[in-house]
């Protein structure tokens, strides 16, 4: 853990709660130069016993506090307080005023995601959403799992579970009439995955991976007879 390892990356982490404190510790162990900012005096004193000069006392939504923390030379700002408005504005100011290359914001209430989108603060991370996604993956009854969402590029990869009574069971791949803008890329059957060919016959219980334009997701799930109402945790349409 020497300065030489840091590679010149200076990071600011805002909010010394469980997330911020652990994150800062991990980043320091990886050799990054980090300053953690905490607005609550008592919490600051607790964390300071371990992190010493790497933690700064102050309200990071005030510009002079960010400046004292050296935001001018920071390459990344990570706002993980328990307050969405704070996280949103700290990242907005970091990007727009101090021209910090990368910001990461924590979203506490998933309903506030739309405000982060609106103000151009991306990426944002919501623990609630992450757990919801894990539930989607672990509980296949939902039928549809988002594996990758590239909202800006308008492309996504989804995992679909074909029910035993789905209309496409027994059909060959070349008989399928998939919506334009979607492509079947693999089939997972009894624990093994393979790339389907024109004569692959779909079976009930197959998991299909498809790459598609998010705008045809509904058409695709409908055609394959998958309950598409389970896209909980996926970002709202832009």
């Amino acid at each position: 853990m020497t300065v030489a390892d840091s590679g010149g990356d200076y990071m600011l982490v805002v909010g010394a709660g469980k997330v911020g404190w652990n994150l800062t510790r991990e980043l320091i162990e990886k050799g990054h130069e980090v300053t953690l900012i905490e607005a609550d005096r008592e919490r600051y004193l607790t964390v300071e016993q371990e992190l010493e000069h790497r933690v700064l006392y102050g309200d990071a939504s005030e510009l002079w506090v960010l400046e004292r923390a050296g935001i001018g030379r920071a390459s990344m700002v990570i706002a993980v307080t328990g307050d969405d408005e704070d996280n949103l504005l700290i990242c907005q100011v970091a990007k727009d005023k101090y021209e910090v290359d990368r910001v990461i914001a924590r979203v506490n209430n998933p309903r506030n995601r739309q405000h982060f989108e609106l103000l151009g603060v991306k990426p944002y991370v919501s623990a609630t959403d992450l757990i919801l996604r894990l539930i989607e993956r672990e509980v296949p009854r939902y039928g549809l799992v988002h594996l990758l969402d590239l909202a800006d590029a308008k492309i996504e990869i989804i995992d679909l579970l074909i029910g035993d009574d789905a209309p496409v069971v027994g059909k060959r791949v070349d008989e399928l009439d998939l919506p334009t803008g979607s492509l079947l890329i693999s089939v997972l059957r009894e624990g093994t995955g393979f790339v389907p060919t024109a004569d692959t016959v779909l079976e009930g219980g197959d998991e299909l991976l498809a790459v598609l334009d998010p705008r045809v997701e509904e058409a695709l799930t409908e055609y394959l007879g998958v309950d598409g109402g389970a896209s909980i945790g996926s970002p709202p349409p832009a």
Binding site: S61, E62, L63, W64, D83, D84, E85, D86, L88, L89, V93, D96, K97, R111, N112, Q114, H115, L118, L119
Partner: protein
Amino acid sequence: MQILIVGCGRVGSSLARTMLADGHEVSCLDEDPDSHARLELGLESSWEDAGGQFTVGTGLEIDALLTAGIEEADVFVASTNGDNTNIVIGQIAQRRFRVETVIARILDPYRAEWYEHQGLRTICPTRTAIGELESELKRIAAATEEAYDGG
């Protein structure tokens, strides 16, 4: 004109009454249902009978903003007791609902200045207080000096 005021504390409620008395349509949004009572201070009728509207909710809830009539509002005033809230909801009113005039109360002068640069109309009570105190003190100082000079 139609005015939506979010944050119905001392500032918001007083402003709401004045604008209603001037014949404007006024709608208030506050997360605290009790703040409704503040609107009726000095009124002879209820706030609603006087023609006002009141909605319980926060400015971050889109549904609450819609109920409070943000789509019809000509003016949006963010006057909650939190700078961060006012800055965020002011920008929501501006960018999402395209309200023509958006005014946000920001206590922190430094940030008020920055967001003004970003096109948000701001009122900074701290700056006003500093200015008034400074001119008052300068006046007192000048008067004292004069008194010395005179004596």
